[in-house]
Amino acid sequence: MKLFNYLLKIDRRIIYIVVGLLVMFPLVKPLGLGVTSGPRARTLFEAIDAVPAGKTILISVDFDPSSMPELYPMLTAVMRHAFAKNLKVLLCGLWVTGAGLADKAATEIPPEYGKKYGEDVVFLGWKAGVDAVILGMGENIKNVYPVDYYGKPLDSLPMMNTVKQLRDIPIVFAISAGTPGYQDWLLYAQSRYGMRVGAGVTAVSAADAYPYLQSGQMTGLLAGMKGGAEYEVLVQKAGYSKAYMPAVAAMDSQSLAHVVILLLVIVGNVAYFATRKRGA
């Protein structure tokens, strides 16, 4: 029983070091565990894959840089999928702190597929007022965004002639780290303009999205970094992209981290129950 007492008295810093090393190791030397895609990611993938070429999909960037590790890979994976299928991508955002991220994606991803700004991708930028923005876009996008994020009038962008209002857009993929986020697109865009709403969320709020999936309001869900990795794998398997997949690269560490937490709980409990019977 001395072992159990020792186990319980281990200094927390040793645990920190063990966890730190175990999480860092696979980043340097990947274990290659591979990622399998779940049903929720496939539903979203099939919904976007079914959009006919030439049509436009809307991506709403509603998160800030501190949720980048979980949500940014989703943005790049969906954009690569859309461009590989010759879909046009319209970007907007309900978080002011997300504007920089959408701008970064709108400049880095299109060149990979030879797509030009204004013809294949447009970033509308951020506007205050959540419901007013969505409802406004439902009636006429130009009323809400007379100019795009870079100050160019929408009339000068050829792509915007094919997209006047939300009814012209089959699906919106809302990537949200909280509120405002996918719930606002469900509340205002889906019920009123019949748009299909897919969502990408941080892992913390994933469990709370299931009531909306069950009621049929939502078309697919990507949860946390794992959701991003699932979509990256789907896009790569379909031959749409050969780009580096940051989320997949992190999955080995994620696996190891979860196993570590599991073992820590089990060992901790066994040691606790052992000493509790004898000791206190």
Partner: protein, 257 residues
């Protein structure tokens, strides 16, 4: 007078916004837009409250030279510098506020604050998360299923083997503690596994961990979250109604004037 007018404002605004929800008339829509803009403006001024008390707290700490007063200098200068840079050179991405301060100061600090929580999680997992009660044990098992089911390592692990490991842990715990309840629980689990094995023709059942995790999320978790949603909604509505009708006056603050 100092109480009745604010209570009257609160009552009028509350009732007006509730009625507005049901009236699609353009006048009502205009009222909604106008008040929304006003609230956004007034709420922006509320920032004065938060910032004001923070600044006063640190200035007071500085004047009294209380322990760690020099850190207050850091906070005050950082707040002043950032707001001056932000107000001076604008907030459009590409401005110094966004490119330098936000991306290289705020983001690393903010995400590092959350990242160290992963370490606290690990040490709490080892030293605090105990299956003291059967509810806590059930919670931990459900957490294990979800955690393993969500990552590649659990992708091709049959749920059957997971339960076998759980049964093993229960047996060890049972032997160590000799608690009757644990023996009954373990016995039931082992019998259940044998029946399941028999049913699937003595081959390991094909149900994989990720599918089990998906089931845990979309059936029991969904039902529980929906029940909690009802509770939160009814609680929120009751509180808001009490605020509007002036029954709940906590926000008026102390003092009887």
């Amino acid at each position: 007078m100092k109480r009745s007018i604010p209570l009257a404002i609160c009552l009028i605004m509350g009732i007006a916004m509730m009625i507005q929800f049901f009236v699609p008339h353009p006048a009502s829509v205009a009222f909604y837009d106008l008040t929304t803009k006003w609230v956004r403006i007034v709420a922006a001024f509320a920032l004065v409250l938060g910032t004001g008390s923070l600044v006063m707290y640190h200035v007071d700490k500085l004047q009294r030279r209380r322990r760690g007063w020099y850190y207050s200098i850091v906070t005050l200068t950082a707040a002043a510098a950032t707001s001056v840079i932000g107000l001076g050179w604008g907030v459009r991405p590409g401005s110094p506020l966004q490119d330098i301060i936000f991306s290289n100061l705020l983001v690393p600090l903010n995400s590092s604050m959350f990242a160290i929580l992963a370490f606290y999680m690990a040490s709490a997992a080892y030293r605090a998360f105990r299956a003291r009660t059967k509810e806590a044990a059930l919670l931990l098992v459900a957490a294990f299923v979800v955690m393993l089911g969500m990552v590649p390592i659990g992708a091709n692990v049959p749920f059957f083997w997971f339960l076998v490991v759980m049964a093993g842990a229960l047996i060890v715990a049972g032997l160590v503690t000799r608690s009757k309840a644990l023996f009954i629980g373990t016995g039931a689990l082992v019998v259940g596994l044998l029946v399941w094995l028999a049913f699937s023709g003595f081959k390991v059942p094909r149900l994989m961990l990720p599918d089990t995790a998906e089931w845990v999320l979309s059936v029991p978790n969904m039902a529980a979250k929906r029940a909690i949603l009802f509770g939160i909604a009814l609680g929120g509505i009751a509180t808001s109604l009490k605020v509007i009708l002036g029954i709940e006056r906590g926000w008026l603050g102390g003092g009887k004037q």
